[in-house]
Symmetry: D2
Subunit: 142 residues, 4 copies
């Protein structure tokens, strides 16, 4: 179970990004549609990589991709139209060619959703897994 293995260092670097909920994000229940939290997770991890000095665009320019193998979301409270959210991400664990990223969505201090994604480190030409880019591997405790 991932939550057992995931053992982020207490000092693990956490990125933070502000995001404004658009009407497009909401659904007929009047709240943010549940799949859009995975879009928020993507924004959160893009910001994490950027703050680590490794924009995802540059990772791709090296011929490496980080496709998603697993995604999990726990929904605690709904976000609504025009909310200003804080999207947070940090490295959970990193083993071989795989990395787990932990994400949280807050409105002010209230946790609305949390979860994680697991990514493979892939050579984009051969479509084969390769060793995790060292800058990321170094960050994880595990």
């Amino acid at each position: 179970m991932d939550t057992i293995h995931s053992n982020p260092a207490p000092e693990a670097f956490t990125s933070r990004l502000e995001y404004r909920v658009s009407y497009a994000d909401t659904d007929a229940m009047g709240v943010v549609y549940y799949a859009n939290y995975l879009v928020y997770f993507e924004r959160a991890r893009t910001q994490l990589l950027r703050e680590l000095g490794l924009p995802y665009r540059e990772i791709e320019a090296r011929g490496i991709g980080l496709p998603v193998l697993e995604a999990k979301v726990d929904y605690h409270a709904p976000a609504e139209y025009d909310d200003l959210l804080q999207l947070c991400a940090r490295v959970g664990w990193c083993r071989g060619a795989r990395i787990q990223l932990l994400c949280e969505v807050f409105r002010h201090e209230v946790l609305l959703a949390s979860g994680y994604t697991v990514h493979a480190c892939l050579d984009l030409k051969s479509r084969r897994p390769v060793r995790m880019i060292p800058e990321l591997g170094r960050l994880a405790v595990s």
Copy 2:
């Protein structure tokens, strides 16, 4: 851990829906964007409820909603533009005011993604959990 508790009857009723991947579903990696599998899961469970004689619209008309508490996706192989997918759903477990729905996405016989969602049964006026609608509760084993 949900996979332990989930114990679908072997004979559990499985719904099946065909869905054509649009360009809108894809991303710059050339495959279906990972969040869209949760949209496919929504389509799959809507079809499940319809085939069970309980269209979600009618559930809402009774003043009941089934908001998502948890969602999990495992990605096995990517879907691509114009693929004709089969979206399958069945009840996993049902306990008190909660129900788990299991979903799978196939292209022909190839499993592309699998996962589940957990839903609360909610009185839409009081926003309080209520006992699972009996037609659904009856379907689950355990």
Copy 3:
């Protein structure tokens, strides 16, 4: 002004595709979000090309793309969750390297939205406009 030039033959072939509105398509106003009609237009024209024996996938396989230059939507009445829509498309006009496709969204006999897209015919390698694929050019009047 496009509506002047557009002169679809009365006998112009019209494709028709059924589509079920998902929760993902709706917004907090309780109706389908306005941008999603352009997704419906895409589904409509994909079906048109398929019915003309020219699936868009095959057009791309020939090294040709049809990027959108213009899009227009007129909103007549809102679609709602779970509506079963009819998505219709036909060729408006075709001139040189450009083609206009006319789209309509119906619920039963009620017109909910109408509009058009204008596409260039592009060599995907050189990124240069090329003469419209003959199968499409032949279809347009004017």
Copy 4:
């Protein structure tokens, strides 16, 4: 034809919002999917209303909605993953219960897309058109 009637004062107030393109916004052509420019237009006009001191949330709190009647986009050059865009909006014209908003999407100084939306001013209870909220009506030349 709207472009004839639209006569924005040269001094018309223009709002500006920065927006980062996510992977979710892109499609298999490697660029932003065409429908997402309407999402960008929504973000642009939300920011316009906010800068005018009239957040859309407050408009709704007064029982007024601004549903879209028409939308038009002209695509000049594609936006790509991770681009930092500038989303601009200003009032075009305002007549009776209708208002036109002009939108532009830039990457640095390059115009990628431009267009407009036309909105009705609607009493949300009666679903009937009402006179444009005065703060907006005053802004338009016409």
